[in-house]
Symmetry: D2
Subunit: 426 residues, 4 copies
């Protein structure tokens, strides 16, 4: 057992942190103010600021591009598009890098490592046809286009995928898409050119072979972003979360990724690493909020003392430190488990962190808000947006309850088996 | 001891509830959609929908107007402006009425019983001069104008009023106002014509006689609403929370309420009932969110069962019921204590509910969000706004920490005294 | 609505408090030490100290005897045996009296108002035959004998009464008892002469008519107290909790209370008030522990300050105050509901307090332990025993989970009905 | 970073687990019953059962002896007395071994790795003179004698060592001991022949050089075990916690370990590893309790379902898994930090786990009790004793509050410095 970072993880996470501190955070503050101002003036807040493109170019120049690109798939793409010129990173090595990216809402975009593009790129990399790779993966790796992921539906409890109502029906050599999706992250970006859409192809197939994933050009007739959704009041520009309808969208059948009925298989592989990324970014965001709270607590004075010396605040800081440290080790361990034993062996670990980390983040960020007083809930600090991000992760990618169910099912199975064996023997 | 509502409280709360269900909730949904649409189209969301004025007229017709107007001050105003034609309600009788109003964000406005107007009207009623009453109280009671309360400042920890930097300096027969205030609730309303501004008049006076409250016409030169603030992403139209600067605002010295240096005394009387109102409205809002969650939990199905039957959801509903019921009794008791023994004797009770109720509301509303899945965080349910309202009440009117400090100070005092006596005797 | 105590409740609770402070607490300390010493010397700790009998006599002289005796059943017993010479108290009036009794473990015994005797006496009063009353109720009311309640079983989850394995089978004019019970409270008292035993008479009857309650002389052949049980290390002398076996115990059939098959009906009536008593006593015990913590926190010094001034302790005291106050109001409201609307209408309220109060007590007492340092876990303070008492009440009389289930069932029923109606109409 | 156990840690922890399952747990059940029976019969429960000595001999035979003996001090002692014949284990390698020992209360004793003997042996090993080693360390390593640690005092808040009242005063070539200590763990063991006593030698020296540690033969005149203390009702035989007085105990001055005034220095080195051991043992104990709860939950049936399927129990199991896993990683990381960077660099980590692990254990064990119903609080399961052990660790070795203070002090220091620098520059 060894808790030290590998030299490459240490180097990359330090360089990403430096880049975030120097280039991204000042830019973020300006962009947030700019979006607010545009909104006030009745101008479109969904546009790409040229400074973002400049920052992306700089990140790429520094070799901090596509760092999410997983080990084992480096091949020609790694060479051409990044991962610091080397091979892909393991989940364990990428995790501390993702943490540093998480300190800023826009940093992942700037490093071309933002959700849902990372997951979409992994899917295309792993399951995409040559044509799909040429048309969509390359510009995505190049940072020229963005993508959306279309899975959750407004009409049903989407935590149970068997509820899914959207359709992707085969009609000769075409697949016909009809459905309403929401919380389609990435759909607000002006460069969002492609979506990966999950829907039912064969409702009579067994539970794990009913669904397909289809590559959908977002400008195809019948595809319509109905509206952008706010999450606890936040629109998360420039990516955002859309409500999207697909009405009689007809595409060649080769737009189905890996062929019909393979959506579940594809989703499985996508989820483990994606949850590790989400969790590590959220830990970075939580550390950022804690930083702000610590700064505030030593500089603001009430009743003759800095806030840090009042009431139970010191204890609450220590509690925050404990919670974050435990959460980080938990995620790193899950990443190691994924790397070492694979997805199937890591089901419990991945579900555990998916529950534990967003909850921890909500608690710590809530405390940081409290330390900031009224200002903490307002637009001058990134805290309200951080809280919204953390809170929504208790629902996105499966609500807490579903993941707790996975963990307990795995815990109880051997005991139930033994109990049945005992029962049978009696 | 008797836990049954008085006939008048029972009647009024039932009628208010009926009115809210029938007239206000459908309107609220339309207004929320309308504000979102206006914002999207780049139109001003800060305007008064004529339907609000119609609803106000109807509420007044039904005798559901100015119900907050406290007992003991009914006099001519009660007769002319409401409180169902009778005398003012005690805090205890008003509390269940306020609960029903709290189920909708706009209901208090429609019943002319919204913060901060209620508190401002009480202050004018109790401490205002004849001229101040004629000019401001009458149109407020009449629902013709709205008001703001200008106390919190961005530059200092405002939970400690001795930090206050804003000035209200006497210069001959004028008072000169300079200061920057934020979270000035009500400042966004187009009819917001008057503010009550709290500031330092004599920094050398003792701690409780330094500050004054000044009636400020919002269109006076030097008064400027710099921006409207979002609270966890919500703007709370049409009232909102403003950042307001006052620059060399000169007013006749008779604009100081009750004379210079009396702000603390005035604030004390204002706070007890105001906190009871806030808490009861919040309990109503929490009940509304719980209603939505219960409806959702029996109608949404996942894994073959309604959500209500999954995981620990039933237990969480029961926990919510327990928390709300305890909170309501707690507030009703505080209201009774205020009525029976006055503000000074109720310091602990008022601080206790101020801590306990918003926290409870956050927990229950958060659960209601979770039951709603992703939709619960979005714009289609009142849950995100409810959460923002509950959360911000953990800071508004004194952060939790300050109120916990009050409660513990009162608890410890007799023990510390006894311990000192013992120490001295040894 | 009115939160003031009735004159009688105010008077009795003040007098009980005075009696507890003056006579009971000093005695309790001596008895605890004495039990420890006897145990150490290998002597029987299950004996009745004559000072207890003296204190009982004094309590009776002062009219503080059988105060639990419920309104409506006063008749000749109230006259002869107590309730301060007046009629029985309502649940609401008795509640604050029970709170004061709860401050000491032995006080309820001294006021002849301890569980399980109170419940047993109520059952005999309400359902007992004349013969049962003469033989058992009179000496119980007189404080001459004690009783046990035999319901819970070691072999099955007793929270589900349909699991019950013990038998009370009719054989001609006899009833034959066979079973193993545990947590039979009261069974350790040397004067415990009678038990009320619940068991299955007719396993084929419907769920609510299977069980009977039987009056069992504890010295009858076949009745055996196998051992006394510790609860979190406490034996709760002199009453205690026994494991009791009944082996072919034959009794005349008239020993069945109210006739065969009525146990459920009898149990229902017993439970509401009993839970109110338990909860109020526990609130009194919690207040006692909080008192000790407050005293300790102002007198112990560390790092140059009294403990009260360190870390987050003050906030934790305020939290304790909030929790206790909410809990007390919750129980008082449930008592009022029971008095006003009866048991069936108060199911939710009674289950709510049964969950909420012991949990609250555990939290506050745990904090009091923490304030006392290592000593708080040890034998020199009543805190460890208080914690054990509070914790065991999360299981006794139905575990939290069962009561939460009751509350949520009642909450969900109307929503589920409406949802089904909507479903049917579609 | 690598989360796999070293081969030696994997091997030893597996063998210890096997030994505990096979030899220790069955013995423990018998010993617990035996102590209870002896107590009931008025016989001395503080005696050593010969089966313990047999088990010790077997553990030693298997090379599972003195595994705590730290790396770097192996020398002749490791060769002669154990640590599986190899060199000492690092904290990180010993941690999983300690976890397995923690599953049984008596296992650490059987492996000669129980507190406080481990800490006392480490102190003697590191700071003891040759004479002290010969006389005390050898028989301790040999398992022939036991020892106590005498630090906490009943009269003062011992979390602040400057409060200490006990004295170890130099008088010529003697040191004279006077003091009252309690929670002196190990003092109940019949073979407890030696204590390490901490007391003030020079009250005028600086805070870190006032105290000395003295080796005290427990049978020396003036040393008296006044009584054994219960912790939440548990006596923790055969080691126990004593209250010990020292009255004019005169010893040659060479009994002071390392010379006068070095107690703080010695205590520092002792504490880090000791807390890692405590925490890992507690994690093992918690896993044991969770095992019992899982078994119970699949085998007990209520309302037609195994407990595991009722209410929110499954979610609570998952929560327990998450908490334990986070806690374990947290402790392992602290152990690694201690090994890699030393005590001074690991202050925060050690304090973090000292707070987090016992709290986690209390929560999980409390849940295991709840799953067991009334039985969970009683003598038939190790749960009540486990809870008592976990709860007392929130106080022993420094209460939570002191450790949270350490963590927050370290967190705030750099921010406060920066804030001051900014302030100075303005």
């Amino acid at each position: 057992m060894d808790f030290s970072l590998s030299p490459r993880a240490a180097d990359l996470s330090a360089r990403v942190r430096e880049f975030v501190d120097t280039h991204v955070e000042p830019l973020e503050a300006e962009l947030v103010a700019d979006v607010a101002a545009r909104r006030l003036r009745g101008e479109d807040p969904w546009r790409i600021d040229p400074r973002i493109e400049e920052a992306k170019a700089e990140a790429r120049r520094q070799g901090l591009w596509n760092l999410f690109l997983p080990a084992g798939h480096e091949g020609p793409y790694a060479e051409r598009f990044g991962t610091d010129g080397g091979a892909g990173l393991s989940n364990l090595d990428y995790a501390p890098v993702a943490e540093q990216m998480g300190r800023s809402f826009i940093a992942p975009l700037i490093f071309n490592s933002n959700a849902p593009d990372t997951g979409n790129m992994e899917v295309l990399l792993k399951y995409g046809s040559h044509a799909q790779k040429d048309r969509w993966l390359e510009p995505l790796l190049d940072g020229k286009v963005r993508s959306a992921f279309l899975m959750t539906e407004p009409g049903v409890a989407s935590s149970d995928a068997t509820n899914m109502q959207a359709r992707a029906e085969i009609d000769g050599d075409e697949v016909v898409l009809n459905g309403r999706k929401w919380w389609s992250s990435g759909a607000g970006h002006p460069d969002c050119k492609v979506g990966i859409y999950m829907a039912v192809t064969d409702p009579n197939a067994d539970r794990h072979h009913r669904h397909s994933m289809v590559v959908v050009p977002m400008d195809h007739p019948g595809v319509r972003v109905e509206r952008m959704l706010s999450t606890l009041g936040q629109y998360d520009e420039p990516l955002g979360h859309g409500e999207v309808t697909l009405t009689d969208v007809r595409l060649p059948v080769d737009h189905i990724i890996g062929g019909p009925g393979r959506a579940f298989e594809i989703a499985q592989g996508r989820l483990g690493p994606g949850r590790v990324h989400h969790c590590m970014r959220l830990i970075g965001l939580t550390e950022k909020c804690l930083d702000l709270a610590l700064q505030r607590s030593v500089s603001r004075v009430a009743f003759g003392k800095p806030l840090a010396q009042l009431g139970g605040n010191r204890e609450k800081f220590a509690e925050a430190r404990i919670k974050i440290n435990q959460a980080r080790l938990h995620v790193l361990h899950a990443a190691w488990k994924l790397d070492t034993f694979g997805s199937a062996a890591s089901l419990s670990e991945v579900s555990e962190i998916k529950v534990a980390v967003p909850r921890m983040a909500c608690e710590v960020i809530d405390f940081a808000i409290q330390i900031h007083g009224g200002g903490g809930t307002g637009p001058d600090f990134p805290l309200a947006a951080a809280y919204a991000g953390a809170r929504s992760l208790r629902l996105a990618d499966g609500p807490d309850e579903v993941h707790l169910g996975v963990v307990s099912r795995l815990m109880l199975a051997p005991y139930a088996k033994k109990a049945m064996a005992v029962g049978a023997a009696q």
